[in-house]
Symmetry: C2
Subunit: 455 residues, 2 copies
């Protein structure tokens, strides 16, 4: 064979440390604020939610943080993940560009989320946590966390948005196969849930409600902690293994990317692949870093850099980030993981400092490129990842127009095996791009502009 | 890390030749018979169905057959597949046995089937075939063939059993994502389909009817050939890359299996992993080879070694094989790939010659072990593969009882991402083991005992 299509590292080549983006940011993130006092939140303020070893990671500015041996041992079941060259996709596009993708869909739960779930549960185990709660919408985080909790023997309760619980039974089933307790939110077992049910006994729930239930459950019980699958610094930290592996694999390939692309919901998969390349960039290397969001939820491209709540119920500490306003509700796109009103503070600060670029696309164009990719490479991408593919295509076609060689890297953050109903709708032509009027964005912004400014 | 959990070969270590089991069989297979004349079928008799380069492989006794370069290039996208050590599953079982599994679920369509679909479509392309037909039940073969036809640009028509078409839309959608035409069988476009619809306009179809439609479509059109995803010699040939890789990986591990296990429907995944070890066995190495079938369709364990038709419509050449009778209809178990009345002639002959063993299990015990496996290793197995896991557990628990070290290898032929409804039923306790009375077996046998004997 003449044409290598994947660059595979051995277990022994797996990175032994995570890279902390905070160490190399020209401007550090502003601190989160206590929602009651408006003062910078202290580590202690997070203690009811997270164990102290995770809070230490959250505030750390140390550049390299050792990956614990037991976490490496579990990573080794699917890591290092392959770096692939999409040769047939290049041919399909007729581009002179070289397109590489890092494939995170090889993990047991099918996405990059396990990189952080395994680490978070490990630290909770170490800290003596006896029980964990979380919320899940589409179910990627819920299934990754179920997998990890099962390995470490910590019982998990997942508050799953009721409409997803009913309409996406397969994700629920995976969590159950892994042994998690999954309940449709709102429930009648929390104050937050009961308050909603009192207003509307038939409520289908929302991510905001599910977060409020999972947080309340954790805060009220001494033995229980809460976990989050994106947005926070420690989650991005755990995901940097993606980019660190990719850098080693590019050395094998004798190549280096001109542009690094990741889809962007809360920011963890983009931060994971782009972070280690940011380190190169601040050290003078020429590389563009591109986050891709849904046009239905254009946080980085149309939001405001401002303090806002992390949840739509307005209960968490205030975070300095690009936000559409915490009660902004995007249309029901298939890429559930891209429907978050806010954005990781690290990614937000990097955008503010012009170290990264951001683009937003509608879902139909993304599915069109995802199907073309599947036909060329065989892999069916998750709807979230199709946004990264869309931008890779834009870059590749621009290279074709300009007659330029260009090296493109994108993160294929997960497979779409549990999203086939989205493809069914796309193929049947029943999928829609719902326009997002400026008035909706303005209305959501009105509600938060009284919160502390992050300017 | 001290404990290696996967043995990964590089692309450059991938086997360059398939191994032909026929070369080392102490007793060769008896010839297929022409269904009209009862005389041995000539290669020409198969020419309306298959191109001559595939027919040559079907009758070849050459030990090693080169894998064409373009096929290797496509294999390289997911091959070599990993050989994994199921360390946590061993701990769960508390066994002194070492359990290894070869994971074929990493292929684009999610199972071992792509090993043969890519090769078959390549040879058809070479022979000038302009169009391909096939049938599919559960959809594993249909999706693997859709993937391959798309790569080589050959239009594919899949006759999908109507009840599956309606109840398993996701498999249909995958085939459509890969660009195949999928129609619910029976159709009104073939004589075979029209005959059924005339009797019963609401017929939900059967694999037998779908085969008859796909064959008729191919035979009546000069430009069209038919493909089959199991049973035949050339399909087993293509699958031997599984066992050949496993042998190289065991060298890396410094180990060798005492027992090699594969689930057994038509026989191709079992033949693929066990074949190369059979070569060792006939050369004096001690290794047991175990095919595992469903107790609902116990071909090797309760069938007769006899000539029978390959399809339930009784139109194909007669094959010498273990069979339950071509009109035997197994209960509707979730492992659709194990519902075949017959068995690969090669596997059948090896069983007759006591070179392999066979066991049959009910589906509930298989799902129980599959869930235990998923909790330990993270991977959700296809229902078919759960039968191989079940027997691996039996071997591992026996080793525990006997206090013996033992090295177990099984083939994890595919993932279960498109079979979550089966897990849903299992978890809900609504899955059943339907007893198979001897009288049903006797009745099916009565109908074929007038066919030529294979004794």
């Amino acid at each position: 064979m003449t044409d290598t299509v994947k660059y595979q590292l051995n277990e022994s080549d797996m990175p032994r440390q995570w890279y902390n983006i905070a160490a190399d940011m020209p401007n550090p993130c502003m601190p989160p604020l206590h929602p009651g006092t408006g003062q910078p939140a202290s580590p202690q303020d997070f203690a009811p939610l997270f164990p102290m070893n995770i809070i230490e990671q959250e505030v750390s500015t140390k550049r390299w943080i050792d990956i614990p041996e037991p976490v490496l041992q579990i990573y080794a079941q699917w890591r290092p993940s392959p770096l692939c060259r999409a040769r047939r996709f290049e041919q399909t596009l007729g581009t002179p560009a070289k397109i590489y993708f890092k494939f995170e869909g090889v993990s047991p739960a099918g996405s990059h989320k396990t990189n952080s779930s395994v680490a978070q549960v490990y630290y909770n185990k170490l800290a003596g946590t006896k029980r964990i709660t979380t919320e899940t919408g589409a179910g990627q985080w819920g299934s990754a966390l179920s997998y990890a909790c099962n390995i470490f023997g910590i019982p998990l309760k997942v508050y799953m948005v009721k409409v997803s619980y009913e309409q996406k039974p397969y994700r629920k089933n995976i969590m159950q196969v892994y042994g998690a307790e999954v309940v449709p939110s709102p429930t009648d077992t929390t104050n937050a849930g009961r308050a909603i049910l009192a207003q509307d006994p038939n409520s289908l729930g929302s991510l905001g409600i599910a977060i409020a239930e999972a947080v309340e459950d954790a805060v009220l019980r001494e033995d229980t902690k809460y976990t989050l699958g994106s947005v926070l610094n420690h989650v991005l930290l755990h995901q940097t293994i993606i980019g660190l592996e990719a850098q080693k694999q590019f050395k094998l390939a004798g190549d280096y990317p001109d542009v690094v692309i990741g889809c962007c919901g809360g920011g963890s998969n983009f931060g994971g692949i782009a972070g280690p390349f940011l380190m190169d960039k601040v050290n003078g290397k020429e590389v563009r870093l591109v986050g891709v969001e849904s046009a239905a939820c254009p946080t980085l491209t149309k939001g405001h850099f401002h303090y806002d709540f992390g949840d739509s119920a307005a209960t968490t500490p205030l975070m300095p980030m690009y936000t559409l306003g915490h009660d902004f509700t995007p249309s029901g796109i298939h890429a559930g993981g891209l429907r978050y009103h806010g954005m990781s503070p690290i990614i937000s600060q990097l955008k503010k400092d012009n170290l990264i670029e951001a683009y937003a696309y509608n879902q139909i164009e993304c599915f069109t490129d995802a199907v073309a990719f599947a036909r060329a490479e065989g892999i069916i991408p998750a709807p979230e990842a199709s946004h990264a593919i869309r931008h890779a295509v834009v870059e590749a076609l621009r290279a074709k127009e300009e007659g330029k060689e260009k090296v493109i890297l994108f993160n294929l953050s997960g497979h779409g095996h549990f999203d086939m109903s989205a493809y069914e709708n796309y193929l049947a032509g029943t999928i829609e791009d719902v326009p997002l009027p400026q008035s909706s964005l303005d209305a959501a912004w009105e509600k938060i502009k009284g919160l502390p400014s992050a300017a």
